[in-house]
Symmetry: C2
Subunit: 189 residues, 2 copies
């Protein structure tokens, strides 16, 4: 049983709520703003659904047609699918794996740039992060006002916490670069 991809997990999870055709899954995921959490494109989704069917995680339960529109193949999650879903979620929750984010690469090669430019760029970065945090806070306020439980938006809280930590680290590093406390080995111009 191969580990599901992130898109696979969210796709199977919506199918776990009821039988659907792929385009309906796509629309539902868009309506729930899942595209902020996973890379969501129609091509990838349809291919993922194909794989699920081939692996027995879902089963075709009918083909609808309205007028001359394209056929809609409706799928249903199987018990094997539910098991694979729970297993993959457990795996992603419990094990921390390196996902090789870009920023460490950039900061690791930042000595190719002069200190002044690095400071300026890090300032831009922290500003864009703080802006994102602002959007998140506004969104969370709206969610709280509608009485949605925190447990349903835990991922948003998680993301906010990590963004705040990154912003704090950047602030402290920028300040150390400014005072010269952190000597820069790169070019001076």
């Amino acid at each position: 049983m191969p580990q599901l991809t992130p898109l696979g997990v969210t796709a199977l999870a919506v199918l776990a709520e009821g039988d659907m055709h792929p385009y309906e899954m796509y629309q539902l995921m868009l309506a729930r703003k899942e595209d902020r959490v996973v890379r969501l494109s129609p091509g990838s989704l349809y291919r993922a659904v194909e794989r699920f069917a081939a692996d027995g995680l879902i089963a075709e339960v009918g083909v609808e047609r309205e007028g001359n529109r394209p056929e809609r193949t409706v799928y249903s999650i199987t018990p094997a699918g539910r098991a694979a879903l729970r297993e993959s979620i457990a795996e992603m929750l419990g094990r921390h794996v390196n996902e090789f984010p870009e920023f460490p690469v950039a900061i690791g090669e930042a000595h190719n740039l002069p200190a002044g430019e690095v400071v300026r760029l890090l300032g831009e970065r922290v500003a864009s992060i703080r802006e994102t945090i602002g959007f998140i806070d506004a969104s969370l306020a709206g969610i709280a006002a509608r009485g949605v439980a925190t447990a349903h938006v835990l991922n948003v809280h998680y993301t906010r916490a990590l963004l705040a930590a990154e912003a704090d680290w950047l602030d402290s590093t920028i300040s150390q670069l400014g005072t010269g406390e952190l000597a820069w080995p790169g070019p001076s111009n």
Copy 2:
């Protein structure tokens, strides 16, 4: 000029230090443990080098051969390559882009599991993160003992800071799940 991939940045950066053939780049990157920071596989590296040559970022400067060994094509970075390198580093430093980590997906679908199992899994996760932090601290202590400047291992400090923030968030969330302060909407068994 297309944005370089993370592997592209590190590869061009080593070429910026001197002319080399791809395998030598590979060995140098391994010796420097770059494989902890970028996904590093021979196949990807050779293809990246091909693309660089096609885009004029590097130029072939000779073909060596020792005995009956395979030919080694030596490359040299071009001025366009240096410009692309600096530009890509600046881009990665200054702009924060969503890279869609897995964990938010998992926590967003965690309601498919019972609260008890989620608590157990989050506990495993925080333990493995704290273990990683331990390794990082040991490694940083060794580095400091050898008199290496902090600026050369900024990426390690960054990674440590974000891991610590994640561990703290997990601890707090686990405790709120334990006390019932954070109600769980999932299955009870």
